[in-house]
């Protein structure tokens, strides 16, 4: 940010043009009461789908579409929270910046998907209503994203699996009948490609590094593997409203296996984590890790309900 301000001061030939926009609009009141010229979350411009047509196309079930957007949005929201937790804890400053960037992409996708969910089910709930005021059992994310970060290798292994699978899913969803979901997916697919490259690069660096780094990377991969299965297990809502993730299993696992081969790692042969009576994350049945994560994510919003600034 500081860099940008510095550039602004030196690079703008007009000079004056920079003075009246870079973050100064933060302090400028709207010239007219009905104007939208405000800047802060909680104002009209914070709507991540501002002015986008909210109608659910004919032939789509609004409740199913909402539930589906909630599933994908919750995956992105929870993993964003995990990635951002690496800030101040990553091995190098560059990695903190990178992981925060990835988290920001996912947070942006989550904001749009949760907003879309609140529109499609007719409840009018906002992204904040859904992110901060639902209970653990109402979250629909896969359990893969709620597991604690573990060590860096574990987080990278999880990111590799998630980004490969989610990128493939988003590409398939870019042709979805709902134009909002399709647009979020088309945008997200490009972002997830970067996430996958990042995870791949670290998997190679660790797997093909020292015996110690390879052992840590293998351990991370082994530990995360049982959680991957849920990415390919279709919930009835996913089958009705979106793409059956089972169709992604083979190409995604093949891509991950290729990275493992290049990195000198062994593809784990582990069964998926058991569900509870056939119910798992998509049904709101989570591991014990989600509660504490949500407590941290929601504490400020719940301590100061409706606060604006």
């Amino acid at each position: 940010m500081t860099d940008d301000l510095t550039h602004a001061a030196t690079a703008d030939p007009a000079g004056a043009a920079t003075d009246d926009h870079v973050y100064l609009s933060l302090t400028e009141a709207s010239p007219e009461p009905e104007g939208e010229g405000r800047w802060a979350y909680g104002t009209g411009f914070a709507d991540p789908l501002l002015g986008v047509d909210t109608a659910v196309p004919p032939g789509l079930d609004g409740a199913d579409l909402a539930a589906y957007c909630l599933m994908l949005g919750d995956d992105a929201l929870i993993l964003a929270q995990q990635l951002i937790e690496w800030c101040t804890r990553a091995p190098e400053l560059e990695e903190e910046v990178a992981l925060a960037n990835l988290g920001l992409d996912l947070l942006g996708q989550a904001r749009q998907l949760l907003t879309r969910a609140g529109q499609a089910d007719g409840s009018g709930r906002t992204e904040d209503d859904l992110a901060y005021w639902r209970e653990e059992r109402e979250f629909r994310n896969v359990r893969l994203v709620e597991a604690p970060n573990g060590d860096f290798a574990y987080s990278i292994a999880r990111l590799l699996l998630f980004a490969t699978a989610r990128g493939a899913l988003y590409e398939a969803l870019a042709g979805h009948a709902d134009p909002v979901l399709a647009a979020v997916a088309a945008r997200g697919a490009k972002e997830l490609a970067y996430h996958r490259e990042y995870a791949t690069a670290w998997t190679l660096r660790l797997g093909d590094g020292t015996p110690y780094s390879a052992a840590r990377m293998q351990a991370g991969l082994d530990a995360v593997w049982p959680l991957a299965e849920e990415l390919f297990t279709g919930h009835p809502v996913e089958l009705r409203a979106g793409v059956d993730p089972a169709t992604l299993r083979e190409p995604v696992l093949r891509a991950v296996a290729a990275v493992c081969a290049e990195a000198g790692l062994t593809v784990p042969d582990a069964r998926g984590l058991a569900s509870v009576g056939g119910r798992a994350g998509r049904d709101g049945v989570h591991t014990e890790a989600l509660g504490p994560l949500l407590a941290e994510l929601q504490v400020v919003a719940r301590a100061h309900p409706g606060a604006t600034w």
Binding site: L50, G51, V52, G108, A168, A186, R196, E197, Y198
Partner: protein
């Protein structure tokens, strides 16, 4: 969603000119039009008191500057005398660095930021969880350009094969082409950190996406 074809139908209007001149909050040497974020400006109703709707296409899903862009466009249009102003987002088609204009790329280079290569984003069309083609981080010559950034180039789609390899990343400071990527993630979502091996200076580069 309106098709792109009609997107700039009103680009000659006074309202377009006002909105097009708004600088980007994070790359202030560029206007929103240079950046390709300003998708359309629609002027309707009574010519004496027209209602103006400006459409913006956000860059990254999580770009924190979108709210400020919208506020800036709103404020500039009102300051220019338009009383009835709406700013809306258009998500489709998604933004791509290919939408950065030639003028925008020139301004970026002038400011010491390596611009995306024209057409590079669509050349690296991402498709399916195909095998990654893993390449070096250096792009000293055009022959290996694109290999490090290409995803989905598993030979399964041919999406990349038909496109000519984009030219190497040029150092915006000395013009050298012996450059390497230091980190794909930089000070903002849209930039990566690079280094020139000729002049030894680091520089930022707008990611091709």
């Amino acid at each position: 969603m309106t098709a792109v074809a009609g997107a700039r139908a009103s680009s000659g209007s006074a309202a377009w000119a006002v909105a097009a001149a708004v600088p980007d909050p994070e790359l202030p040497m560029l206007t929103l039009a240079d950046l390709g974020v300003l998708a359309d400006v629609e002027v309707a109703g009574d010519p004496e008191r027209p209602s103006v709707t400006a459409w913006l296409t956000p860059t990254y899903s999580g770009c924190p500057a979108v709210a400020e862009m919208a506020a800036d466009v709103d404020r500039r249009l009102r300051a220019a005398g338009f009383a009835d102003v709406r700013v809306r987002l258009r998500l489709n088609p998604p933004w791509s660095t290919d939408l950065i204009t030639a003028e925008g790329r020139r301004k970026l280079a002038e400011a010491g930021i390596a611009p995306p290569r024209p057409g590079a984003a669509s050349a690296v069309a991402r498709s399916g969880p195909a095998l990654l083609s893993l390449g070096p981080t250096r792009r000293a010559d055009a022959g290996e350009a694109g290999s490090a950034g290409a995803v989905g180039d598993g030979g399964s789609t041919g999406a990349v094969g038909s496109a000519a390899a984009p030219p190497p990343v040029t150092c915006p400071l000395c013009g050298g082409t012996d450059t390497e990527e230091l980190s794909r993630f930089g000070s903002t979502a849209c930039k990566a950190l690079w280094r020139c091996r000729d002049c030894r200076e680091p520089f930022e580069r707008v990611k091709e996406i």
